[in-house]
């Protein structure tokens, strides 16, 4: 079985800082939910950024959905198939209203406005957020923002989910709700998180990013 996403000997460093990733190997197979743990500044966000081509590796290769991805145009397809949930929901919710935000992805994928609206309403409904369509995004609570960003990622029907600290700054009820939602999703996932209760409920394999290497736990 080939991996959905694979990193092969990837190294990365920021200009003013030493090695963040040092010849990292990592792969994600269908049906897997793997955790990516590690201290602050270990490079977890950077790793996900490299997977979707927001940062380009200094050396090594990224293989996704059947072929190697090198240049910006290669990654457009990757980004459509691998939904990336950002660490800070405020970075992701940039449209004025919830409906516009959730429909943004489908519209970019060439759906008609009516189709996009239909898909968005279905996804919101699925996450228990029906009736939020016309809410203004910056007036939502933290937990609501999180679920709406998840909806806007799911609306693109991704095959893989990359979640950057999804349970960050959520209260207990919102966290349980998120766990429930994520458990019900069929997609393969990479979940960055520090919270073992959250991870225990979800993941099938645990990994840790430490001193530039990804280790299996």
């Amino acid at each position: 079985m080939t991996a959905l996403i694979r990193m092969d000997q990837v190294s990365y460093s920021y200009p003013v800082r030493g090695m963040v990733l040092d010849q990292v190997d990592m792969s994600l197979f269908a049906g897997e939910k793997i955790s990516l743990e590690g201290g602050n500044g270990a490079g977890k966000t950077t790793l996900l950024n490299i997977l979707v081509g927001l940062n380009k590796p200094k050396s090594g290769g990224v293989f996704a959905f059947g072929r190697e991805r090198k240049v910006e145009t290669d990654f457009i397809e990757v980004r459509a198939k691998a939904g990336f949930l950002f660490q800070d929901p405020d970075d992701q919710l940039f449209c004025p209203t919830v409906l516009e935000d959730v429909a943004f992805g489908p519209l970019n994928q060439g759906k008609s406005p009516d189709e996009a609206r239909q898909i968005s309403i279905e996804v919101l409904d699925c996450l228990g957020m029906a009736g939020f369509e016309d809410r203004v995004t910056h007036q939502l609570s933290g937990g609501e923002k999180r679920l709406i960003t998840l909806a806007s990622v799911l609306a693109m029907k991704p095959e893989v989910l990359l979640l950057d600290e999804p349970s960050n700054a959520l209260d207990k009820a919102a966290r349980l709700r998120l766990i429930e939602v994520l458990q019900s999703l069929p997609q393969a996932m990479i979940i960055i998180s520090h919270e073992s209760t959250f991870l225990d409920a979800l993941v099938t394999r645990r990994t840790r990013l430490e001193r530039g290497k990804v280790l299996d736990l």
Binding site: L54, F86, P96, G105, A116
Partner: protein, 262 residues
């Protein structure tokens, strides 16, 4: 920085000020914006005093039908009138004409005085109408409206992003300010204070820049290719046409009555 200045610089509540639903809210936002534009043009170009005065009366009527919050509106009007007052005091002395009276040997002209009153009336009429008809729209609705009215897309996006992120940036500012306070920082008039505020502003800029990059990344992740799509539920109704027609007849009436000939 004085407390009240700091507050008004960083507190952004204009968009979520809840106001009571009123007759004005039954009109289509496009009709409200267009009516305001017609009204403003009609009043501003007048060369007589009675037209701006009539405009001010109309503006009061709009304010009443929008059931504006009295204190909030007054505060905003006064903020503008501060500038107007200075101008009203200056204009009679800077415009030549028949002398009305003298102060320290400077003549105050009658023409200047009338001109100043005209400007004061116009400014108040237009701002009050703006507050009643457009100020009662939610900021993002205003963005949608402008997009529908074919205002250049870039400007609309600029407005929508500003509305969206002003609050985020102001939260960031407050967080840093609180962190300074927590370490016993008290603003005084010394180098340390100014340098610290410099760092604060600098950090705010850097963080905003980084955030804008992350937002752009997030947009790329969802397949952004240069276009934002807006959904809205605006519906033009008969009463909107009527509103526009009445505004237009006000303009025609103003032209016919010779308010634009000196």
């Amino acid at each position: 920085m004085p407390q009240f200045l700091e507050h008004s610089m960083t507190s952004w509540r204009g968009q979520q000020v809840e106001h009571k639903q009123s007759i004005v809210d039954q009109f289509d936002p496009r009709a409200r914006v267009l009516a305001t534009v017609i009204f403003a043009l009609t009043v501003v170009f007048s060369k007589t005093l009675w037209l701006p005065f009539l405009g001010l009366l109309m503006a009061f009527a709009f304010a009443l039908s929008a059931s504006l919050n009295f204190r909030r509106t007054l505060r905003r009007m006064i903020a503008m009138d501060m500038f107007i007052v200075v101008m009203v005091l200056m204009l009679p002395f800077t415009m030549s004409g028949d002398a009305l009276f003298h102060v320290f040997g400077f003549a105050a002209s009658k023409q200047g005085f009338i001109h100043a009153i005209g400007i004061a009336l116009k400014a108040n009429a237009v701002v009050l109408t703006l507050l009643s008809l457009v100020g009662t729209l939610e900021a993002s609705t205003l963005g949608h409206t402008l997009a529908r009215l074919k205002v250049p897309e870039k400007l609309v996006h600029l407005l929508l992003f500003t509305v969206r992120y002003l609050d985020v940036i102001s939260r960031e500012y407050k967080r840093m300010r609180k962190a300074m306070k927590a370490r016993a920082f008290v603003p005084k008039n010394n180098l340390h204070t100014w340098r610290s505020f410099g760092y604060l502003v600098g950090m705010l800029l850097v963080r905003s820049l980084e955030r804008s990059e992350r937002i752009f990344d997030a947009m790329k992740c969802r397949g952004y290719c240069g276009k934002l799509y807006l959904f809205d539920t605006m519906q033009w109704q008969q009463r909107d046409t009527i509103l526009l027609l009445s505004m237009a007849s006000f303009a025609v009436f103003a032209i016919a009555s010779g308010a634009y000939v000196a």
